[in-house]
């Protein structure tokens, strides 16, 4: 069918050459491009699971990712809901405090306006991201050629701990959750129902025991502070067992709970024994490894402040150091945490009268707060309060820090508020904050510090060995450091198991104030529903300028809070329920 009727003579040899040349060129071009798959992805600098676990330096980088995925941080940060609560801290969603403005996150809890549709205290799925990262690390680290066996053992222990920490953070919020201990693929069977509360606790404790038995160091050089040491595993075990032994889970469920998601279902005193043992183990480990309460200064208040705010102080077992420095607008942090008018603060956290009443006077007495009185009287009463109060609460007429000086807040004669006003409570939370400024000093969020474990020990011991002298001793360690008088079983205020329990709970509220303990403690003690704790009227002391220029204070309620018992344990997000894999928490 090809017609060859062309007159070849008409073709000059030039044409043929040119054509042959181009045709040959094209042919070569084709054949070369057909040799390999033209569209195959060339080798680049892509990171795959194989490259990550091909060398120590990359494997470490992935371990830091395990650390960085949802490490607890109580300071609110950049509008997210992972850290603290959205635009606020947990203390403002417990009886410790309140935010004056109506919009920040903690209000939703105080108003009872949260649930499966939204809970701006936690990101359920982000915990599992951390859990998955730990599993990926554990499943692959053995492949890395240039890490010694001991070091692998240590790094695995870190991952095992971090996974257990995520489960602990989940369990104290949601009760029993799906236990995932391997990297799940998207295909195949991925249905993992919620485990019981007990199974979860056992998983965490087992993980902690593995870490404790591993070659993980007891301490690190200063350049590696913030890495997991053996103490952290002991500490996590102590905390989890204390929670497990507590009334919320160790006894009859608060609501019918056929799947034992919220607790064991019945009481067993041995759980307190285990909790006490685990706490004692932390104290023993601390004594052997130079971890001790900060006591170096003659001023007890200074010691307390240092134990919280001093970077890498000897009391810290584990701190999250990744929050970044104090500073200006980004990420939104100082705005959310500083009092109105100080270093860019938008509202600050008020400390409730209920919380103030937890503190004693410096001499160990209860303070008496009349419903109304003069400013002088208020100042006198405030100044009588113990050192930790002075370090934790900024009341009108007290000094913030050297740069800001004394702050005062009151309602003026003309109905307007003074600078720094208004707020809900008796004053602003200043714990954590007085070293903050516009500068670039780093802050930290302490996850475990030694003081907690004296209190854990005191509490657990008193529950199974009522009024055990060691329980008083442990409590007095904390009181002494704070410059407070010792308590004894001879004192009629502390001479029964019940009175000691009350004292321990009160000491815990004071010592660990605003550190994300109280929010959960009132739940595990099952007292959140008591009037004045997470329910009913919350109180403050407000100052009013008088026509004659003097000032008086009045005890006033600023809000009434809503509590329902189902709130003891968080609901699963509705989005998870809708997917059909997990069941809902009782009551929701």
């Amino acid at each position: 069918m090809f017609s060859f009727n062309i007159k070849i003579k008409e073709m000059k040899s030039f044409n043929i050459k040119l054509y042959m040349l181009s045709a040959t060129g094209l042919f070569l071009l084709f054949s070369s491009s057909c040799k390999r798959d033209f569209l195959e992805k060339p080798n680049g600098s892509d990171v795959t699971i194989d490259t990550i676990f091909s060398s120590k330096i990359k494997a470490e980088t992935f371990l830091w990712n395990v650390y960085g995925t949802y490490m607890p941080n109580g300071f609110s940060n950049d509008w997210n809901i992972r850290d603290g609560m959205q635009a606020g801290m947990l203390m403002a969603a417990s009886d410790e405090g309140d935010i004056y403005d109506s919009w920040p996150g903690p209000n939703s809890h105080n108003e009872g306006n949260w649930g499966p549709q939204g809970n701006n205290e936690d990101e359920f799925g982000s915990h599992y991201k951390g859990i998955r990262n730990a599993s990926i690390f554990l499943e692959n680290v053995d492949r890395v050629p240039d890490i010694s066996a001991t070091e692998k053992d240590q790094m695995k222990a870190e991952a095992i701990f971090l996974r257990a920490l995520q489960y602990a953070e989940l369990v104290k919020r949601y009760g029993g959750v799906p236990l995932v201990d391997k990297k799940l693929e998207a295909t195949g069977s991925i249905k993992i129902p919620r485990s019981t509360y007990e199974e979860c606790v056992n998983f965490i404790v087992k993980s902690c025991d593995e870490v404790i038995a591993s070659s993980i160091p007891d301490s690190y050089p200063t350049g590696w502070r913030g890495r997991i040491n053996r103490g952290a595993a002991l500490a996590l075990k102590s905390r989890v067992l204390l929670y497990a032994a507590s009334p919320l889970s160790n006894g009859a469920p608060y609501l019918p709970d056929p799947n034992n998601l919220t607790g064991y279902g019945s009481y067993d005193e041995r759980r307190w024994v285990e909790a006490a043992k685990a706490s004692k183990a932390v104290l023993d480990w601390a004594a052997a490894n130079g971890v001790s309460l900060v006591k170096s200064n003659p001023d007890a208040g200074v010691n307390y402040e240092s134990a919280i705010s001093q970077q890498d102080n000897p009391e810290i077992i584990l701190a999250n150091k990744s929050h970044g420095p104090w500073g200006d607008w980004s990420p939104m942090f100082q705005q959310f945490v500083m009092p109105r008018g100080i270093y860019g603060g938008w509202y600050g956290n008020g400390v409730t009268l209920q919380m103030a009443q937890m503190y004693q006077t410096a001499t160990g007495e209860d303070q008496n707060w009349p419903a109304e009185g003069s400013y002088q009287e208020l100042m006198q009463k405030m100044q009588q309060m113990e050192p930790r109060f002075q370090q934790s609460v900024a009341y009108s007429g007290s000094k913030w820090n050297d740069e800001i000086g004394t702050i005062s807040f009151y309602k003026k004669n003309d109905g307007a508020w003074s600078l720094y006003a208004p707020l809900n409570g008796v004053g602003y939370m200043k714990k954590f904050l007085t070293r903050g400024n516009w500068g670039d000093e780093y802050n930290q969020w302490i996850i475990f510090r030694l003081a907690e474990f004296y209190l854990n020990y005191a509490e657990a011991l008193n529950e199974h060995s009522a009024m055990d002298p060691a329980s008083y001793d442990a409590l007095n360690m904390i009181r002494e450091r704070a410059g407070m008088p010792r308590i004894t079983s001879a004192d009629p205020n502390y001479n029964s198991q019940e009175k000691l329990r009350k004292a321990i709970r009160r000491e815990r509220a004071v010592e660990l104030a605003f550190e994300e303990h109280r929010f959960f403690d009132v739940r595990r003690w099952k007292i959140a529903g008591d009037e004045g704790v997470m329910k009913g009227k919350m109180w403050g002391l407000n100052l009013y300028e008088q026509p004659n220029g003097s000032m008086i204070y009045k005890m006033e309620s600023f809000e009434s809070r809503v509590w329902q018992d189902k709130m003891y344990v968080y609901p699963m997000p509705q989005t998870e329920i809708d997917k059909g894999y997990v069941t809902q928490t009782p009551g929701w």
């Binding site: 069918m1 060859f4 009727n5 062309i6 008409e10 000059k12 040119l18 054509y19 042959m20 181009s22 045709a23 040959t24 094209l26 042919f27 071009l29 033209f38 569209l39 195959e40 680049g44 892509d46 990171v47 795959t48 699971i49 990550i52 470490e60 980088t61 992935f62 830091w64 990712n65 650390y67 960085g68 490490m71 109506s102 919009w103 939703s108 359920f124 799925g125 599992y128 859990i131 998955r132 990262n133 990926i136 995932v180 799940l184 998207a186 993992i192 590696w224 502070r225 970077q311 890498d312 150091k321 990744s322 003026k412 508020w417 006003a421 780093y442 809708d578 997917k579 894999y581 997990v582």
Partner: protein, 940 residues
């Protein structure tokens, strides 16, 4: 010689087998003429009944024989809209091409959206642009180097793009020389540009007064005393109580624009050329800038275009073309991000601080850090220098000696772009003024540094293309066959991506027509994309189309009313390989991001994160497109065309995140789960007539596209009306605002609004599900989306004795805009107060307030999507009006000038819309511009 021929034949055979192994040799009989690479074989000598040829994918076809839906516009039309960016000349000019006006910043003023036949997908709806057959950008071409711009719309038009065709395509063809006397053309135009609309914010007195009102609303103490208010009102204290309109201070009234193009074209039968040199300059709107750039610079854009398109007929068999096109672009800007600067001008209240303090230092403070005037004038400048060079060589061999009507061609194209930056910058210290008029104190924020010059931030891409094709074109009696088979490959390297992008395409079409009135075409593409895993990389995309010229039939042939009537239809499959998410999403990806801190110095250690899971079954979007067209001419005066289309898109990417439990702990991969349908029409009507020497035409058109999401793996929602599925892509959702709460009693008797506790004067919403709680579950679909569903145009044109006048109107409708953020939300995040908030709610104004109560605090109740913030997004613009005068030739011939035309024109002279305070198509940032121009065209 015979042996040479044999060799040649063998080589050819080898070639064909090597390239197209799947195609049997018999197919070659149907392969035909022009196409692929622009046809360089001179076909003008052959008489053809169909008149004009128009550009189609990889070739040309006769307009009357076309079976596909293509709209084309000629550059003489585009030139009526003076614009720095070529795509800005296309508004309303191409039926089916929906566009939204973007920023007017010189050098960055491309339209903010371009869609062909609306959205067929809820993922990436971008489309490729081809210049002379190779992918390139059209934006920085000079209008005078362009011959036509076409939009390819239906499956038949897009068939050859296969895996890349589903979102449509634009093809641009540059000018080429015509045989004949050398033509020299000089075009010059210059004009002044102004913003279409600048927002209005309140002055100092109103700001202070309303700020106090907002504080009162919040239960907080007043900030401004009566004495302050007096000072703002009287203007007695311009330093401590300033009243600054930042727009007046930063901007000048107008900015010049000019454009000059000189071109030469001509040639003989063996060589033809088109050569162009162009210069374009557009300056920014900033006032008081330094022409020498000693201290600062305006936003300034200079562009030099050049092009040389040469066609050679080397001998009877081989023709070649050599095209070189390119440009040099110089941009200068103040050393401050343009978007942020405009945001600051909107955000900073009039009383923030004086522009300059009494001691002539820059005003400033901690909250409003960056004095906008100082940002423009004080910080130096940044600049970029772009260079683009595009070179294409084509060869076409007439293989008529093998088979009559057979041609073979090859093309090789290089296209590259490079950008270098050069900046002369410094930081600026500003001073916060306080104290009293007799005793000022200054607090410094930041320091003024010395100028530093750097040349950082180089950027580049380059593209290497190769194409080859066989064409065949024969006709016997009433039968005409033509065919084309081509191969195209493209490698695109761009800095920032160490892995180049690659595409491969084997495509073709077969045409058969009978009696020049029945036409059919089969188009296909076997094309692949590297976005997909091996074995899943290539797809086959066929289309069928046909046309019938009814007016050639006996029953219409002699009709005096219907002069031309044609119906055409097409159906076919095309794909979209533009993925969302990470590249190579078929493989699992890990990436470096952020860090975690250890140690006493809080040292940050980088971390590697796990990306979403890979999906080894990943595939492209598949689009079935149907088109029905009707075009004709009635009474020799009315031209009309109508296209109806329907598209069914499936395998759109969506994640399974909504159904996979989050305890898996990782993002789910994109999967081919989504489906969207899309339908609409394009309609055009033109009436041409004359009264004596007065010629005129009226043209009107409209096009419409509406889509619907059929499936998108949506999360389970609490209420049926919350589902996005079933609505159009980009459907806004929000609460239905009922007005403002009148008083506490009103609040107490209304459903609980949960976003934040409400006060009288806050927005009251409708409880859609009747659960007595207002939350996200009460959000319903409100209004239309941001992209318009309908674009309509009207053109009125006339000429009379050398004078010509044309008015071009373009409008968009079935669109809503939603006001949010700094420009509209008074006092939120320390923002200013826009004038629309002047009539805010107070107990006194509760009856007729048009804005919620002001608040200095974040207010999640009022400032969220709701019908309150929804406004009609309809716009009608007088896009272009031009009045020209062409001098009589008898005057010019003595000066050897063949044609002179002068004109005055205005772009965007009038805009009609419902927003008023800002441009309805570009709500924030550097505003779109209008311009008033004069110009001259001279032809020698």
């Amino acid at each position: 010689m015979q042996s040479i021929m044999n060799k040649k034949y063998i080589v050819l055979r080898l070639l064909l087998v090597a390239v197209f192994p799947s195609i049997g040799m018999t197919t070659q009989a149907q392969i035909r003429t022009p196409d692929t690479v622009k046809n360089n074989v001179d076909t003008s000598s052959r008489k053809h009944p169909f008149g004009e040829k128009i550009n189609v994918a990889y070739g040309q076809q006769y307009a009357r024989a076309l079976t596909s839906a293509i709209s084309t516009v000629n550059s003489t039309v585009l030139r009526k809209t003076p614009a720095t960016t070529l795509s800005n000349t296309l508004y309303g000019r191409l039926p089916g091409l929906t566009m939204l006006q973007g920023s007017g910043e010189p050098g960055y003023d491309a339209p903010s959206a371009m869609l062909i036949r609306g959205n067929g997908t809820f993922q990436n709806s971008g489309f490729p642009v081809f210049v002379d057959g190779f992918e390139s950008s059209l934006d920085q071409l000079a209008v005078d180097e362009v011959e036509t711009v076409s939009v390819l719309k239906d499956a038949a038009a897009l068939a050859l793009y296969g895996i890349r065709g589903a979102n449509g395509a634009i093809i641009v063809t540059t000018k080429r020389g015509q045989a004949g006397k050398t033509k020299i053309t000089f075009n010059a135009q210059t004009g002044l540009q102004k913003p279409t609309q600048l927002p209005d914010f309140v002055g100092s007195y109103d700001y202070a007064r309303l700020y106090n009102q907002a504080l009162t609303n919040d239960g907080l103490p007043s900030r401004y005393s009566p004495a302050d208010l007096d000072a703002y009102q009287s203007g007695s204290d311009p330093y401590l109580h300033p009243d600054v309109n930042w727009y007046d201070e930063v901007l000048r009234k107008n900015a010049p624009f000019s454009n000059y193009n000189l071109s030469f074209s001509g040639g003989g039968n063996n060589a033809k050329y088109f050569i162009l040199l162009g210069y374009m300059n557009s300056k920014g709107l900033y006032a008081n800038t330094d022409e020498d750039r000693a201290e600062n610079s305006n936003a300034d854009y200079n562009r030099y275009n050049f092009r040389s398109n040469i066609d050679l007929k080397l001998n009877k068999i081989v023709s070649a073309s050599f095209d070189i096109g390119g440009r040099v672009e110089d941009r200068f800007f103040p050393n401050y991000n343009g978007t942020a600067l405009w945001e600051n001008m909107a955000k900073y209240p009039a009383n923030a601080y004086p522009v300059r303090n009494p001691n002539n230092s820059w005003g400033g403070n901690g909250i409003y850090r960056d004095n906008p005037v100082a940002s423009v004038l004080g910080g130096g400048w940044t600049s970029s220098n772009d260079r683009n060079l595009n070179a294409t060589m084509r060869l076409t061999e007439d293989l008529g000696f093998l088979l009559k009507g057979l041609t073979f061609n090859q093309a090789f194209s290089l296209n590259n772009w490079y950008r270098a930056n050069r900046n002369r910058t410094r930081s600026i210290g500003v001073y916060e003024l306080s104290g009293t008029e007799t005793d000022y104190t200054y607090r410094q924020h930041g320091t003024t540094s010395d100028f530093a010059v750097n040349r950082s931030g180089n950027d580049q891409w380059n593209r290497t293309n190769f194409q080859t094709a066989l064409n065949y074109d024969r006709h016997w009696n009433n039968h005409e066959f033509s065919g084309m088979l081509m191969y195209h490959q493209d490698v695109y390297k761009v800095s920032g991506n160490e892995v180049p992008y690659a595409t491969q395409n084997l495509a073709g079409r077969l045409n058969y027509s009978y009696k020049s009135k029945y036409f059919t075409e089969l188009g296909f593409s076997y094309s692949g994309s590297e976005n997909f895993p091996a074995g899943n990389r290539f797809g086959f995309f066929p289309t069928l189309s046909a046309a019938w010229i009814l007016s050639e039939e006996d029953f219409l042939k002699n009709s005096s009313a219907i002069n031309f009537l044609k119906v055409r239809g097409s159906a076919g499959l095309v794909g979209n390989d533009r993925l969302v998410g990470s590249r190579f999403a078929y493989a699992q990806n890990y990436f470096y991001s952020g860090g975690y801190n250890f140690g006493q110095d809080n040292t940050s250690y980088g971390v590697i994160m796990e990306g979403p899971l890979g999906n080894p079954n990943l595939s492209w979007e598949k689009s079935m497109k149907y088109n029905l067209g009707l075009e004709g001419n009635v009474l020799k005066k009315v031209d009309f065309s109508l296209d109806l289309f329907y598209e069914n898109r499936k395998d759109i990417l969506a994640t399974n995140d909504a159904v996979v439990p989050s305890y898996v702990g990782v993002g789910m991969p994109y999967q081919n789960l989504g489906r969207v349908s899309n339908r609409g029409f394009e309609f055009d009507l033109k009436y041409t007539d004359q009264i004596g020497d007065f010629n005129y035409f009226i043209k009107a058109g409209a096009f419409y596209a509406q889509n619907k999401i059929l499936e998108m793996s949506e999360v389970i929602r609490a209420e049926d009306y919350l589902y996005r599925t079933g609505h159009q892509v980009g459907q806004p959702f929000g609460l239905e605002a009922l007005g403002f709460f009148k008083d506490q009693n009103d609040i107490d008797n209304s459903p609980l609004q949960t976003f934040t506790p409400v006060k009288p004067g806050d927005l009251k919403y409708k409880d859609q599900n009747g659960d007595h709680v207002i939350n996200e579950n009460d959000e319903i679909a409100i209004g239309k989306g941001w992209t318009p569903q309908i674009t309509y145009t009207a053109t009125l044109g006339a000429n009379y004795k050398g004078f010509d006048l044309e008015l071009f109107f373009q409008g968009i409708t079935r669109r809503n805009v939603y006001l949010s953020g700094t420009y509209f939300w008074a006092l939120q995040n320390d923002a200013n107060i826009p004038e629309l908030a002047l009539n805010s709610w107070t107990p006194e104004t509760s009856g007729n307030a048009t804005y919620p109560r002001l608040s200095t605090l974040p207010n999640a109740n009022n400032y969220r999507p709701s019908t309150f913030w929804a406004k009609s997004g309809g716009v009608l613009r007088l896009r272009n009006v031009e009045l020209g005068y062409t001098f009589p030739t008898r005057l010019l011939s003595k000066a050897r000038i063949s044609n002179v035309r002068t004109f005055v024109s205005a772009v965007n002279a009038f805009t009609w819309d419902k927003i008023k305070s800002v441009d309805p198509e570009s709500l924030t940032g550097y505003p779109p511009l209008k311009s008033f121009n004069v110009g001259i065209n001279v032809q020698f």
